[in-house]
Symmetry: C2
DNA sequence: ATGAAAGCGCTAACAT
DNA sequence: ATGTTAGCGCTTTCAT
């Protein structure tokens, strides 16, 4: 590999001069600069990142912590964030963390081993030590899609959004509404709370067990969730609120396979408005999070946090939007079933 | 940040001893080892990666080059690869490359700046300089899903698989088959070749313009592709072969919106067997690539290549499988339309 | 405007 | 078994 010394030797100058050229510093003779640039071009020299990071005590890269099973919403989000980060001049290092505790510990260790400029959390780590580290070292960090005390975060009002989603169902005449949500992350609980809230406000009696909590938020678990619901409730419901579009997709699969029509027999609303939602049959009614804005704001908040001692707004709550498509329909009989 | 010197000082030993403990080397007194381990635990010390990488001249990390618009198939593949790489003790660094030339150049520069142990290409870069670098430096590398001369690669016989897919349609009585494929990557062309091949073998006259090549392989471009087909052909076809499931998903959207039923009016077969294929309505008939095996083999081939001077089988061709689901049906009238 | 020298945190070769 | 030393590739004082 060609190093700065090689370049220096070949042009008969010192490494310092080459370094100055590479980093665009002043105080170097124009002719010499040209000569060096030319040689760099020819040799394809690129400064060693490790060496650079060692002396500078920083890496110009930010870490993104994300579940290794990231869903389509997160996938879209991190692309946007990555793009913005890059426009600010950062590289991006992904930390895919699995659900197991050891994976979180491992992630923390790797995080420490890098001289990151900052970190973005797209994943709600359970281990408090993780947040302690962030907070204690003052490593600039931002969380997106969830809140953690002390860490600036960008998110939507999950509970309110869910209440709106369920209200849509209620306004369509549905009274008999079930839900599939998930464990493990705050948002699953929050979305369920929103559901309870809507029912309460509408004076519809609700019971805990009409929402089933599954282990993950994928279509596969949507299948499990709906099967469980069918077991618990029979066909005694006319609408479903799924905590994610992917859960909804799995649930709809089961419904169809059981000969239950969506939306004629059961209306379904999802959450996230992932790309594919609009390609499903029927197109999915869902809550759209402002992906682009979220990504932008997240990258920007981190950038600000890195470049200024003074505080960042600890919390930014972004607007969501209910997207009504084809998977919800007015309840046929106006009589209340429940 | 706590360094190896801090640890050494606190226990009153030399950095070398601490280093030995950290790296699990022999020749260190058991009691001292314990003492050091304890302090490391307490302080949360983690060796600085840059420093380590600098002296060792390697990083224990492998780079994965992947399009920034990676599709669901690639998404599933890289997760598997990442998991296996990790089990071999490597970390993973992602290089998301955009379609533009500057992005490829940038990717190469970043690649050079890291002391990677190896690289996995999940993306067919256009710039030959990129491959030159890999080949000249002898940096261990493996390409998956496509071939490049001189680089060991893991893939499926794309052309043959496509021929099989189209043969399935033909065996169902379809004679009037159109295709949507994409530019930019070899596989798009190969899959089209397979299509032509099947028609030729079945003595069905074909014309180039019954396959439309779109710019990308996403559902969105499936929409464009089908619209174009409808423009060119009217409704004069009974089956569609889409070069990816995502293209198929977009195409089916248009078909349905036009009131054309799938599979009753038009049969559709996709390619890749992404997770969601089985959740579509109708479930998608498609060609399944052996994702798991592919990921395993790719990681293993790289690992071997890193740890042995002697050659790796330059090419591994894996078996594919046609998965027949609900989106294909026998052509209603046995009379040939074309 | 340019070069010499020190040092970032670590490991390994070489003492002892 | 343990410590001392040199050096990985770079940037940055500090001289000149």
């Amino acid at each position: 590999m060609v190093s700065i010394k090689d370049i220096a030797k070949q042009v008969g100058m010192s490494p310092s001069t080459v370094s100055r050229v590479v980093n665009g510093k002043k105080y170097v003779n124009a002719a010499k600069r040209e000569q060096i640039l030319k040689l760099i071009e020819e040799t394809g020299y690129v400064p060693d990142k490790a060496a650079r990071s060692m002396v500078l005590q920083r890496s110009f890269t930010v870490g993104i912590v994300i579940p290794d099973t990231f869903n389509m919403f997160q996938r879209q989000l991190f692309s946007i964030i990555e793009r913005h980060l890059e426009s600010f001049g950062y590289h991006t290092l992904f930390f895919f963390v699995k659900f197991e505790d050891f994976s979180e510990a491992d992630c923390l260790a790797r995080l420490k081993a890098e001289k990151l400029d900052g970190v973005i959390m797209l994943h709600e780590i359970k281990n408090p030590l993780f947040y302690d580290y962030l907070l204690k070292t003052g490593l600039p960090s931002v969380s997106a899609t969830f809140r953690y005390p002390g860490i600036p975060s960008i998110h939507v009002n999950e509970e309110q959004a869910s209440t709106d989603a369920v209200n849509h169902l209620i306004s369509l005449g549905h009274r008999n509404i079930v839900m599939i949500s998930g464990d493990g992350f705050t948002f699953g609980r929050q979305r369920a709370e929103g559901y309870f809230q809507a029912l309460t406000e509408a004076n519809i009696a609700w019971v805990e067990k009409r929402v089933v909590f599954v282990r993950s938020y994928t279509p596969e678990f949507g299948i499990y969730g709906m099967r469980e619901l069918l077991l618990r409730e029979g066909r005694n419901f006319t609408a479903l609120f799924a905590a994610t579009d992917e859960l909804a997709i799995g649930a709809i699969r089961v419904l169809r396979d059981e000969g239950i029509r969506v939306p004629e027999d059961v209306s379904v609303v999802g959450f996230d408005d992932i790309d594919i939602a609009n390609y499903m049959v029927p197109r999915l009614t869902t809550v759209s999070q402002p992906l682009t804005e979220m990504g932008e704001k997240t990258a920007l908040a981190l950038h600000r946090s890195i470049n200024s001692a003074n505080g960042i707004p600890p919390d930014q709550i972004l607007p969501y939007k209910l997207i009504i498509r084809e998977s919800t329909l007015a309840h046929k009989s106006p009589s209340v079933v429940a």
